[in-house]
Amino acid sequence: MIPAAFEYYAPRSLDEAVTFLAAHRDDVKILSGGQSLMPLLKMRLSKPAHIVDIGRIPDLDTITEEDGHLILGGLITYAQIENSDLLQKYCPLLPQTATNVADVQVRNRGTIGGSIAHADPAGDMPATIMALDAEIKAVGPNGERWVKAEDFFLGLLMSVLEPDEIVTAVKVPITGNDKTGYLKAAPRSSGFAVVGVAVRLALDPSNTCQRAAIGITGITDKAFRAQHAERLLTGKKLDAKLIDQAAAESTRNIDVIEDINGSTEYRTHLTHVYVARAIQAALQS
């Protein structure tokens, strides 16, 4: 469990980091919280020649409010998300999700930027940032760009991120009176999602659903938005029957995987159960 030899680089500025990444873009990995990368290195499933530790770059660990949005630095940890008063107040779906991630040790080290960049198909954060219509800031040799969450993930551990780009920030909306919730089925309390569901609902005073956003993780090669289900809910009063109908639509056109934690059939069913329960949980939030 010793990684193969690599060159370790700990830049003190974003520019320095990007310059180094660009110079070694063919064989380099970025180390953020290390909760996914370190196991891969130790099991030698990944053997990059260069590691860029972005932990010493200043100003990537703040949460700020800006024009009705919140901006989280890429180095913000799950624990910081869980314990942020600002997020609890303005974007509770993030802490609701973070508290479900792995265990305390992982949450103390793992970062939101790392989680998104890693694009694990069973990661919790991807479902949530999709449901929040978040935007992701990537900085590379050609400067910065903002990518919408729905455009970010391409597949199993793949995203639109170039090897020399760093996720420096995530922009999420202030969700105000929206109802939100995150529910996850996992083999154990600290396990990866067999299915994870993030829900954000905007209801008008008559309890009619004006907008529904449902992000799902763990059941296919990447997190996705359950658009068929969302459409069913939108413009309607939410009752148990409608919620169940929408839940049954949540996997339409999705190629549901199977592994040791569940067959395609079971996971599909479980997703329907969890979508319904997550909507109910959100309504009660």
Binding site: M1, I2, P3, A4, R188, S189, S190, G191, I260, Y266
Partner: protein, 808 residues
């Protein structure tokens, strides 16, 4: 005398372990020590065509490599043990594969380098050419003539088949009102100790002396294994603190000790090897997957008159533990029941999976599973309650000692009392009422009640019962030593024959010795590590949880009693009284009531080692005693005769378990609401220690039932090589276990003590199965197979017959 026995005392080893000050094998660093990695097969089944370490050896920091050729040329195969004795043709098993690999992770070489990272690099640089062979993964497929064969010498994968029959089984089935049949299955799992295998080997070529530090449970296996494989005579085995054993560290670890020793012999340097978690999960040994075809002959009133079953054991890619899960059925073959006619037939099938090893209960959880599932089934078929059926068939307290049909003799126990105590504790009738009410509201609550014996104290001749052709036993009964010494300052030191794997040997033995010698546990230190140069042999106890009570406590009791006699004799001589006039209190030997006639242990210590003039002529100088214990009531049936009657184990603890669960029909998730045990572990020496064993073993059995286990792909690739995938319950999922003691002390052990190690791991899988089936009563389904993963339970609850989504 009972100042400490039976009481909670301050733990002697606990503070060291919880403050990170334990000394485990990995904590030792020797000057010039190299670091090893093991060369393992990535294939389930392949022929090794060639192994070329040339590239790796180019690195000057790579010091030694062991190849299959080295293994073949410089070592000898291990002597076939008692679990391989049934082979028609003997098969050589070396420390590593020499021609063929038979499971993913099978070792066939090793490399040592100046640091661990370089050793890992070197491992990747060793060029191995394989000729992959067809993997054999499924037991039933493996038995077909069309299957590939693991051992060409055998020509079949059915490596052993045999049967045993006690009483008149045919007659019982003929006279039965009804025959109840069921096929049952228990899966592969293990206890996955937090500390994996670790070895340090240091060979001194000048003296031809090999010293090994190893995290092993049985020093004898290491000692004998090294002698057999390397032909060495001068061997020293040191076992420091052990981070969990559970049976995992008895058997397979000897292979690695030999491989690491070979590296030390080749390099002339000490070599350390620390196994990775994933290596341990793929190759450290698994409990056997067992399939049963069971039949019970019953009378309409619920009386069971006969049991017969076939057992198919998936023993993995080695023959060295071929029959271990089958012969262990003899330990609890009768469970708690008065059934006189029992027959069993075993099929030991080799497959391209990790070899099976003894693991907490070894086959006994399977035997208990058969009994307790079948008892529920009988109740269902006869429309009786599961409690009635059990009560009807329990051995009664006035029948103790009770001779079972296979030759076991139960020493003591009140099984109806345990069951009754449990039912009262859980308020069974009220609970059933509550269950009915909740069911009407749509909640699926289930109650499972089971009962089991926990056999303790090994008899090494047991396995002869299935090998009648064996001329002499490979061992019989058990012998176990302890040494006790009164030091010059009046304190005492103990040397045990078995290493401490976390079961509080130091605490418990000090309590016993303190009471026998009239001193306090804080004046007694138990020597850790085990050191074969200094410690007595502990061949019987050898750290298996169900042997400590009989063999180690027996040996300590004997040694302390012997030392007490010496102490009294020396004191009497110096006080000029008769020994019978003396008592010992708090380390002072005295004539009760006299202010002057007393002498302290410290004073006696100074005399015993310094002052010949004050030592009586008929007393050996020094104050030290060694005692080797054997069980004094081991006969009859110590060795099986023509009837195959054998005492498989010598003491019989027991426990009644209740699991109360809630099943989520929509997800299949099982939530354990309550778990209760009323246990009989005989005289409890330390309630904290015994409860610790009960909690741990229950937690394991519950996790086993609910989904922890090893899964293989159809190609024989292990899919569960990290804790993330393996599915062990964490603290969050483990229910609180409520324990009540109702001891029936053994009349045959020194203190009335009985076993408490495997304990709750034996009945808890059956309890969970029973509870889940009970919860699913509205759907009329049967629980036959473990594990009860959420998907498996969901399929049961939703009448989905496709419960076998995986063919492996």
């Amino acid at each position: 005398m009972d100042n400490f026995i039976g009481k909670r005392t301050r733990s002697k080893e606990g503070p060291r372990h919880v403050t990170g000050r334990g000394l485990y094998t990995d904590d030792f660093r020797l000057p010039g020590m190299l670091h090893a990695m093991i060369l393992r097969s990535p294939h389930a089944h392949a022929r090794i065509v060639s192994v070329d370490p040339g590239e790796a050896l180019k690195n000057p920091n790579v010091v030694a490599v062991v190849t299959p050729q080295d293994i073949k040329q410089t070592t000898k195969p291990f002597k076939p043990g008692r679990y391989a004795a049934g082979l028609k043709r003997s098969i050589d098993e070396y420390a590593g594969a020499t021609e063929k690999v038979r499971y993913v992770g099978e070792p066939f070489g090793a490399v040592a380098a100046r640091d661990r990272g370089t050793a890992e690099d070197a491992l990747e640089q060793i060029q191995v050419e394989y000729e992959p062979l067809r993997p054999v993964v499924d037991v039933r497929e493996a038995m077909k003539p069309s299957s590939a064969v693991l051992f060409d010498e055998l020509g079949t994968n059915l490596a052993w088949n045999g049967s045993l029959s006690y009483g008149d089984v045919e007659g019982a089935f003929k006279s039965a009102d009804r025959v109840v049949k069921e096929n049952l299955k228990i899966h592969r799992y293990s206890s996955t100790p937090l500390e994996p295998f670790i070895v340090i080997a240091s060979y001194d070529a000048a003296s031809k002396r090999l010293t090994v530090w190893v995290t092993a449970q049985v020093p004898e296996v290491i000692y004998d294994g090294l002698r057999e494989a390397l032909g060495l005579q001068d061997i020293r085995v040191i076992i420091p603190d052990v981070g969990g054993g559970f049976g995992q560290k008895i058997h397979l670890i000897r292979k690695y000790v030999v491989l690491v020793s070979l590296l030390s012999m080749k390099s002339g340097r000490p070599v350390k090897w620390v196994e990775d978690r994933s290596e341990h999960m793929m190759a450290g040994g698994h409990a056997c997957a067992q399939e049963f075809e069971a039949e019970m002959a019953v009378k309409n009133d619920g009386t069971v008159i006969g049991l017969r079953f076939k057992e198919y054991d998936d023993v993995g890619g080695s023959i060295s533990t071929l029959t271990i899960h089958f012969t262990n059925k003899l330990n609890n073959l009768s469970n708690t029941y008065r059934v006189r006619n029992i027959a069993l037939e075993g099929f030991a099938v080799v497959t391209n999976k990790c070899p099976v090893i003894p693991n907490r209960g070894i086959g006994k959880p399977g035997m208990c599973y058969v009994w307790e599932r079948m008892m529920d089934r009988v109740a269902q078929e006869l429309n009786l309650t599961p409690i009635e059926v059990r009560r009807k068939n329990l051995i009664q307290p006035d029948e103790m000692p009770y001779a079972t049909p296979s030759g076991n003799v139960y020493d003591s126990g009140d099984y109806p009392g345990l069951l009754q105590g449990l039912l009262e504790k859980i308020e069974y009738d009220k609970l059933r009422e509550e269950q009915r009410r909740e069911r009407e509201k749509g909640r699926l609550i289930g109650i499972g009640v089971v009962i089991a014996v926990e056999p303790g104290g090994r008899n090494a001749a047991r396995d002869m019962a299935i090998f009648p052709e064996m001329k002499e036993p490979p061992g019989s009964g058990g012998v176990n030593g302890a040494k006790i010494k009164l030091e010059k300052n009046g304190t005492l030191s103990l040397h045990l024959g078995s290493p401490n794997c976390g079961q509080a040997h130091e605490t418990t033995t000090a309590q016993v010795a303190a009471d026998l010698l009239g001193t306090t546990p804080d004046k007694i230190s138990t020597s850790i590590p085990f050191d074969s140069d200094l410690s007595p042999w502990g061949v019987a106890a050898a750290n298996s949880g169900n042997n400590f009570h009989l063999y180690d406590i027996g040996a300590i009791h004997g040694a302390a009693t012997r030392l007490r006699e010496k102490v009294l004799k020396l004191a009497a001589h110096n006080l000029q009284v008769d020994p019978s006039e003396l008592t010992i209190e708090d380390g002072v030997v005295k004539v009760p009531g006299s202010a002057t006639k007393q002498i302290t242990f410290a004073e006696l210590g100074r005399i015993a080692y310094n002052n010949q003039h004050l030592i009586p002529d008929d007393l050996e100088a020094g104050l030290e005693a060694t005692y080797y214990y054997t069980f004094p009531h081991a006969k009859p049936n110590l060795v099986p005769g023509a009837e195959r009657l054998v005492r498989a184990q010598f003491t019989f603890s027991a426990g009644a378990h209740a699991a109360i669960v809630e099943v989520d029909k929509n997800t299949g998730a099982v939530h354990v609401l309550r778990y209760l045990i009323v246990g009989d572990n005989g005289t409890v020496i330390n309630p904290d220690v015994v409860n610790g064993q009960v909690f741990g073993s229950a937690a394991h059995g519950i996790a086993v039932a609910l989904g922890e286990g090893f899964i293989y792909s159809p190609e024989g690739q292990p899919l569960t090589v990290t804790y993330l995938d393996y599915g062990k319950c964490s603290a969050a999922e483990t229910p609180r276990v409520e324990v009540m003691h109702r001891p029936s002390p053994s009349p045959w052990t020194a203190l009335g003590q009985k076993a408490a190690g495997e304990g709750a791991a034996i009945p808890s899988p059956a309890a969970l199965a029973s509870a889940v089936e009970d919860a699913l009563t509205p759907f009329g389904v049967k629980v036959c197979d473990l594990p009860l993963t959420p998907e498996a339970v969901w399929r049961l609850a939703n009448h989905n017959p496709e419960s076998e989504r995986r063919s492996y």
